[in-house]
Each structure stands twice: as C-alpha cells, then as structure tokens.
C-alpha cells in the first residue's frame, strides 16, 4: 500500500530555531530520507515553504477567488510530506515515527486511494 505522511509542525516555533539546531534537523531529515530510499519505501518527498507564502484558491459562481494564506488557521501547519510504500498501517506508523518532525510536531498518516 501507499501512504502519504504529512508533516505538521508549529511554524512560529520553527522560525525561532538556532542555526545549529536547524542544521542538525536537516541532517536528520537527510539521513531518514536516505534510509527509506535504500529500504525501497521512498516514493516521493518534499519540504514546503512556510504558510506565509501560501495562497488559497476557490472557484465560486465561475469566478476564481484567491486569498492570502492557508485554508485554515491551525496551531500546526503542513510543512512537508513523504509518499511511501508500506506493507500495512503498522509499517507506515513505524516509518512516520522515525521522521525527525514527529518529535516536536505530528505526522498524519493517510492511505492513498486506489481507483479500481
């Protein structure tokens, strides 16, 4: 099965991080990504620019409406994702728990829909 692992974390806290800690975190992400590439679980993964760069788009009555910012204001914001191949939910949970961001933020594990 394929799962999308959505990484949520508090942007305000993240922006306060020291340069050393930032480097450490990015090294940890690098190591994690390498490990799931080698184990064959990695399908895709990216980090996202902060929500201050987000634009939300709606179409109402045929008109395109754009607003500044994310769809919903929440305590934690989407900051990146991995698309992984996993045997079952337990394997996906185990992988999600190894994402460095899981220690401060949270990871939402969503199965990918299969169209028959």
């Amino acid at each position: 099965m394929q799962y999308l692992l959505l990484i949520y974390r508090n942007e305000a806290e993240l922006s306060k991080m020291t340069a050393t800690n930032r480097e450490k975190m990015s090294a940890e992400y690098g190591a994690f990504t390498q490990s799931i590439i080698q184990s064959g679980n990695f399908k895709a993964g990216d980090g996202l620019q902060p929500t201050t760069t987000a634009t939300t788009v709606r179409v109402r009555d045929g008109k395109i409406l754009t607003t500044d910012g994310p769809f919903a204001e929440t305590r934690e914001q989407l900051g990146g994702y991995y698309l992984v191949e996993a045997r079952d939910l337990d394997a996906a949970i185990a992988m999600a728990a190894r994402i460095p961001g899981a220690r401060e933020g949270s990871i939402e594990v969503r199965p990918i829909m299969i169209y028959k």
Binding site: Y3, A86, D88, L89, D90, A92, V109, P111, K116
Partner: protein, 412 residues
C-alpha cells in the same frame, strides 16, 4: 433448551471464532462479516429441520466461505477481473480443516485488530464487543446508550478504516507486543468497568458486559500464557465480579462494601481469582498495575468483615500503584484506604490536595469520597454540601439514591 435457543447459543459462542477464521481466509473484514451472516441465515433455515452438525463452527465457516466465493463471483462478473478469480482459487486451497493452534492465532489476530490504536478507544470497545464477543449491533448500541443506527454507522466506519488504512490482521511482533497488549487489556477493562458500575441509567451493574470482559480475559490468558498483566486483570475482574450479588438490594439500591453480606459473595470465583493473583505476582519482572490492583481486591475478598480488613497493607499497595502507574484516581483510592489506617482527618487532607490540583475536576467520585470523610468527621454542614455536589455529578440513579439516603441520615 428449545432448538432456536440452542441455535442462538451456538451462534453466540462461535461467532467470534468463525469470523476470526473467515477474515483470514477471505482477507476482508466486511466480506467475512456478510458471509457469516449469510451462513447464520442458512443455519436458521436448516438446523431446526434436520440434525445439527457435529462441529457447528466448521460447518458455519465452510458455508460462509462458499457464500463469500459467491459474493466475489458476483462482483467479478461485473468487474471482470481475473485477479478476483485467482483470489477465489486461493480461497479453495486454504480452506482445509485448520489445526487448533491456527484457530487460536485467528482469535488473537481478531482481538489485536479490533484493539488497534489507530481506532478511537470507544470504537475499539464497540468493535471488540461486536466481532470478538459476537454481541449484536443492537446490544452494543445499548452498552453505549446510543441508537442502533448510529452504532451500525460507527461499526461500518471502523471496518472501512481497517480495510482502507491497511490495519494489519496479525498478532504484533515481539517488540510491539507489549504496548499493543496493554491497549487490548485496557479495552477489556473498559468493558468490565462499564459492566461493574454503569456510567448512567437506572441500573448499577450490567452483568452481561462484566461476563463478556471476563470471557475475553480468560481467552487472552489461554492464548498468551504466563503474562502477569493478563493474569492480574483476569484476577481483578473475577474478584470484583464475585461480589456482584452482595452489591445491590433486590430493589436495585447500592450496598457499600462495608455493609455487604459477605455470605453472598461467590466463593468459587474468589478462589479462582486468588489463585490468579498469586500466579501473577510470581511472574518475574516489575509488578504489573493490574496484578497490584488484584492483590488489593484479594485482601478485601479474604477479610471476614470491613473492620477486620488489612487496611495498612491495602494503603501500602496503593502506594506501590502510585509509584508504578500514578493517577489521580489511584490517589483518591489511596486516600480512602488511609482513612481506615490514620483516620478521616488525614485522608481529607489528601483528598483536598488532589482537588486543589484540579486533576479530578468532573470526576464524580471525588465529591462522594469527600462527603464520606466529612460525614465521618462530624462536619455535617460541609458533608451535606459535598453530597449535593456528588448527586449533581452522577448520571447513575442508584448512586443518586445512595446520596439522598446519606443526606436524609444527616438530617439538618
């Protein structure tokens, strides 16, 4: 027993096992459940007229397996997928009579799937009662005090999540077993406590739920032998449940432990519980919370009366519990035991300290324990206020009547 009552009993006893095996064979919760319902319908039509099969479970599994194949075939004709037919052939190949060890594994797989932490705690309990215990959706709905339609929806969504999210149908591996086992035991204990003291309603107890929980505890103890936490929980449930007949009057009023007629307690069940407590405490390793709680229940069960109870040891065991699994509820129980050792004044200090920290805001037994201590201290006016607060905090009719009795005794 009438034939239909006998058939009902067989369905009830075999539903969990049959479903557990079917899920393994067909690899799908929903399909297995539907196929088993089909098989029950066939049994209801056939069994009363002719002789019952020697092995009703094997009969049900075989009929349900064929029903599942029919359902797959019907789907396959409009989907036209070869894959379905391959699956079907596999189904035929794996349907030999299974050895008992395989059946036990099926049951364990089913329990661990229903108690998967990716499902909400309430959903885990509902799913366990429905699929492992074989309660009907209506019965599960009654246990949760919700409508049958709402419960059916909740169960459908749960089974959907199992399928779509890929919740595995397997016993967790060694290093994952411990937390998952604790989760399963927590579900069983939730079923039991709801049966022991209902959250709300007219009746203090729901013995059917307590009986189901004990059945599950026995099953787990047999399937995963030698685990102190399982033996401890089973002992705890048996010892509590053994007092059932003494815990309420014919009119459904609560009889507190101190006033219970101990001759009404189920001695055979107490003996079984005591044996399990000892077995649990003998297992090497650090003490398990359920085993310690069971040891406390054992001291109550052994005592000839309220006054002759070994209160210092009970207070000491609560202190052990506070070290290994601290919680405000344990603190409250500890305070109640302390009141029997050092008197109600010292216990009241402890209870007031718990209340001041706010950890038990909204916990309905906090004002009740305070009220009892104030009453024993002769602080009538404050006791009255506490009983009024306790009455407002509970949804359970027999508890309300108990507090009303206390208020009447206090006069004022």
């Amino acid at each position: 027993m009438t034939p239909s009552a006998e058939i009902d009993r067989i369905f009830r006893d075999e539903a969990g096992r049959a479903l557990a095996t079917l899920i393994r064979l067909v690899g799908d919760f929903d399909l297995a459940e539907e196929a088993l319902q089909d098989a029950f319908a066939v049994a209801l039509a056939r069994w009363p007229a002719c002789e019952m099969p020697d092995n009703p479970r094997a009969w049900l599994v075989n009929v349900a397996r064929n029903k599942a194949i029919d359902r797959i075939r019907r789907q396959a004709t409009f989907r036209g997928k070869q894959q379905q037919l391959v699956h079907e052939l596999e189904l035929d190949a794996r349907a030999d009579d299974d050895p008992p060890a395989m059946l036990d594994d099926d049951m364990l797989r089913l329990i661990f799937t229903c108690c998967h932490p990716a499902l909400a705690a309430e959903v885990q309990v509902a799913l366990t009662l429905r699929t492992v215990c074989g309660l009907s959706t209506a019965q599960v709905a009654r246990a949760f005090l919700v409508g049958e339609e709402a419960m059916a929806q909740r169960l459908v969504r749960a089974r959907q999540k199992i399928r779509l999210a890929g919740i595995p149908y397997e016993v967790p591996e060694r290093d994952a077993l411990e937390p998952r086992l604790n989760g399963a035991l927590a579900v069983i204990y939730l079923v039991f406590t709801e049966g022991y003291v209902a959250t709300s309603g007219a009746d203090l107890m729901r013995p059917d739920l307590a009986v189901e929980a004990i059945r599950l505890g026995r099953l787990l103890d047999r399937l995963i032998p030698g685990r102190a936490e399982i033996k401890g929980l089973l002992a705890l449930m048996l010892l509590h449940d053994a007092r059932r007949a003494g815990r309420e009057t014919g009119a459904g009023d609560i009889v507190l432990l101190e006033e219970q007629d101990r001759a009404l307690w189920d001695r055979a069940q107490i003996e079984e519980g005591l044996g399990l407590v000892e077995a649990a405490l003998r297992v090497p390793g650090r003490p398990q919370p359920y085993a310690v709680q069971a040891a406390i229940a054992a001291l109550h069960a052994r005592a000839p009366g309220w006054a002759q109870t070994d209160w210092p040891q009970i207070a000491g065991l609560y202190e052990v519990l506070l070290r290994i699994s601290p919680s405000p509820v344990i603190e409250l129980n500890h305070a109640a035991a302390v009141s029997m050792v050092d008197g109600p004044a010292r216990a009241l200090d402890l209870v007031n300290a718990i209340a001041a920290r706010g950890g038990l805001d909204g916990y309905e037994l906090l004002p009740a324990v305070r009220a009892d201590l104030l009453r024993r201290l002769g602080r009538t006016q404050e006791a009255r206020q506490a009983y009024v607060a306790a009455t407002a905090a509970t949804q359970l009719e027999p508890l309300r009547r108990l507090y009303a009795r206390r208020l009447a005794e206090l006069g004022v």
